[in-house]
Symmetry: C2
């Protein structure tokens, strides 16, 4: 149940009419600070403001007509919920989104704005899963997991196809890791197309379950994660973990201070709005744990969804 390069290439063709081919940008002051040539793959400029749209879109448009007619479903309070709702709207099918009752009003409004049909539940994992099972029982909708889904992993891997095409001869690609959908898809694509390129992940030190999982050789749960990078709180999945074990050279943990500094640097110097999770790969550049001097480094700015009235450098 591991996607192949062909699955990722098919996904690229499938989502092409709907997803942005996001730009790959460079920033001289970033290059100078790091002493490397850095290529930013701007998934913060993707639809719904995050790479998540790719996987959701691939999953939705991979469904047969009969499956699609029954709709799709997930439980999520984050970018995946919005991504799935938009993808479903583009195909003209229902998206049933289970959200915890304490999800911020702005996130509920965003999902509803994309036409998602929201079911609120108690804010526990058990309640979320029960509510989702109930929705599926009633509708026959297809569940699309945020990351532990081959269609989603293949969709996220399309990020790497575009990055490698626009920034040839990279030495390293750095992606953030939460559940591992983006990282595993990117690692599969990179290693299939350009096995010489090293794939490295960035993870907040305050949510270092993937780092510990790689060290332990088994999935370690994320327990009480504490980080501003709220897109990276989840544990690895049964599909993403083995791919990451096989293809990812190293997971670099970064401090909260480095994340905030990286985020602010990208805002100030690259003029791009990146969310804390999306700034994690940039934080890797200056944590000094790997020597990148003189290299050509691709970094994936994974998303840009931020509350502009609550910035971490504001008091």
């Amino acid at each position: 149940m591991t996607p192949t390069l062909f699955d990722i290439q098919v996904a690229a063709g499938r989502i092409r009419p709907y997803a942005h081919r996001t730009p790959v940008l460079t920033c001289q002051s970033l290059n100078e600070r790091v002493g490397a040539q850095v290529f930013m793959k701007c998934e913060n400029l993707q639809k719904v403001g995050a790479f998540k749209f790719r996987g959701a879109c691939n999953a939705v448009f991979a469904l047969s007509e009969a499956q699609a007619a029954r709709g799709v479903a997930t439980h999520s309070s984050g970018n995946h919920a919005q991504a799935l709702a938009l993808a479903a709207r583009l195909r003209g099918i229902p998206a049933y989104i289970v959200m915890p009752s304490n999800a911020p009003a702005v996130k509920q409004a965003a999902v509803a704005g994309y036409g998602g049909l929201i079911t609120l539940c108690e804010p526990t994992q058990a309640a979320r899963e029960a509510a989702l099972a109930q929705v599926v029982a009633e509708t026959g909708a297809e569940v699309v997991h945020p990351y532990n889904d081959v269609r989603v992993i293949a969709g996220q891997g399309t990020v790497a196809l575009e990055l490698l095409a626009e920034a040839p001869d990279l030495d390293v690609v750095i992606a953030p890791v939460g559940g591992g959908g983006l990282l595993s898809g990117v690692a599969l694509a990179v290693k299939a197309l350009a096995p010489r390129v090293r794939v490295i992940a960035g993870e907040p030190a305050g949510a270092d379950d993937a780092f510990r999982s790689l060290a332990a050789g088994q999935i370690m749960p994320s327990v009480a994660p504490n980080t501003i990078a709220d897109g990276l709180l989840t544990s690895l999945g049964s599909l993403t973990f083995p791919i990451i074990c096989q293809h990812v050279e190293q997971i670099v943990t970064v401090s909260e201070a480095a994340i905030i500094d990286a985020m602010r640097f990208v805002w100030e110097r690259a003029k791009l709005i990146v969310e804390p999770s999306g700034a994690v790969p940039v934080a890797v550049l200056w944590e000094g744990k790997i020597d990148l001097r003189g290299l050509r480094v691709g970094v994936i700015l994974s998303g840009g969804n931020v509350d502009l009235t609550r910035l971490p450098w504001q008091t």
Copy 2:
């Protein structure tokens, strides 16, 4: 003394090794709000964070070896000063920048960071001009005016070459207007290449000297301008005014509220950091003074230099 299309094309070739070819991006929620297809030309992602680098770079690299050896000079406290300093550094020649003594420390530091040689003077127009004349007398440096210079106008016009190439069949192009360097260069290029395309300018109602100049048929000075769009405070120049009269269909004035709303919309939905001046063309889209429904509209996001600790929607 009006640049030709050929001058602009030569400028494009001249600055190509140094300037970013900035992306042209679209944003579905912007299209839906406006009821048009909007193409954002992202000069906020240009070097030094603004289109100003194009004109400065063209001027610096157009100099003969003998001229260049004596350096370039200007008086400016804004983006032009940084742009000229960087362009000069790239050619390996001195840039003498006269700045008023009350220029923010962060702007002085930015110019110095690009290797600019700063002369501070009293914060009056007379003192600035006297200080610049003194510098030129001592060094023989070539003065590069921020906008009233054919080389600068031709450089700014390269924005339009790229926009028209990437977003074909535009109906309208909207640029902000301050001194008119960007607007006149863009208008020249657009009207030479695609005369059917309408060129419209956006200007803050609180600094509407260009609007009044067009109405009066002569350059009206900017008197006590009051707007958050601090890049658009200057009056038109003797070179830019006639070009604008000939080629610009209309200047649309926009309110401060519309500018701030447009700026926030671009940040939140397009994930791009745009400064107030750069958001003015977006504000034109929803001031409702021109009917853009169903059209293909290019807007030039002219710059992205903002103090991130002082945002207009923060209290």
